[in-house]
Amino acid sequence: MASFVPLKEKRLMEVKIGELPRWRLMQDFTPKGYHRYYNKYIHVKKGGIAGVSMVLAAYVFFNYCCSYKELKHEQRRKYR
């Protein structure tokens, strides 16, 4: 390695292309993505409906974005 900082500590933008496979294998596999959300909002001692509701709200928003094109025509206008 032609750098002084250990490979493990570097972020994605700082890794050179040739070192990419090795960098990925040395990644620190703390819970990411799904597990982070799960452990923070659902897997708690007194979880309420907020944990699941946030996921469902995101789902509704995602579907709204996907169907925005068709829904644009139904916007409220003064004269229909």
């Binding site: 799904y34 799960y38 659902i42 897997h43 708690v44 001692k45 007194k46 979880g47 944990g51 699941v52 996921v55 469902l56 789902y59 509704v60 579907n63 709204y64 996907c66 169907s67 068709e70 829904l71 025509h73 139904e74």
Partner: protein, 226 residues
């Protein structure tokens, strides 16, 4: 307005890519799997519901039929969760597509029939002729029983599709009527709104009931044949 009514039943694509696969896989995210004895509230509630359903549904089967437990319980969980998620605004319900329901119904029904033919051949064939039929009626009755056998998967699929689609359409229609009536007469709009609320409660029930009926019928076909 007609085109808008059916727009929610088009399989969703994003920039040309079908994302319907993501939507079908989404309910599985809401059922976390866990390896602990005592779990968080979400998982405990789900496990309690699943145990209750399993005991209720698999009690009628013998040992051989109970090997289908995993299949049937996953089926009812999938259909129930997919139908319930479809009641959220703007969401897409995969079970409104006849293709998917046929894809679920035909293999399961065929599995039960083939199982019956392999293990209890005489009894399976005997299903085609009810006991005590008069001799002249026999040929016609065998034809009728064959037809009724082959119609079972079609009925399973179409029942689920039609019920869920009809419910969604009614909600769209009555919601649109409520909105349109608001500028004309508030009382009528209010009555329509009450109807909409009752309909939504019904749809919640239908979502669960349809899942139950689908699974129950498959398990009945299994009971006949296993």
């Amino acid at each position: 307005m007609n085109e808008n009514l059916f727009a929610s039943f088009i399989t969703p694509t994003m920039m040309g890519l079908p994302i319907v696969m993501l939507i079908i896989m989404f309910p599985s995210m809401l059922f976390p799997s866990t390896a602990r004895l005592i779990n968080n509230r979400l998982v405990s509630i789900q496990q309690w519901l699943i145990r209750m359903t399993t005991k209720q549904m698999m009690a009628i089967h013998n040992k051989k039929g109970q090997t289908w437990t995993l299949m049937l319980i996953s089926l009812i969980m999938f259909i129930g969760s997919t139908n319930l998620l479809g009641l959220l605004p703007h969401s897409f319900t995969p079970t409104t597509q006849l293709s998917m329901n046929l894809g679920m119904a035909i293999p399961l029904w065929a599995g039960t029939v083939i199982l019956g033919f392999r293990h209890k051949t005489k009894a399976s064939l005997a299903h085609f002729l009810p006991q005590g039929t008069p001799l002249p009626l026999i040929p016609m009755l065998i034809i009728i029983e064959t037809i009724s056998l082959f119609i079972q998967p079609m009925a399973l699929a179409v029942r689920l599709t039609a019920n869920i689609t009809a419910g969604h359409l009614l909600i769209h229609l009555i919601g649109g009527a409520t909105l349109a009536l608001m500028s004309i007469s508030m009382t009528t709009a209010f009555i329509t709104f009450i109807i909409l609320i009752l309909l939504t409660v019904l749809e919640f029930a239908v979502a669960l009931i349809q899942a139950y009926v689908f699974t129950l019928l498959v398990s009945l076909y299994l009971h006949d044949n296993a």
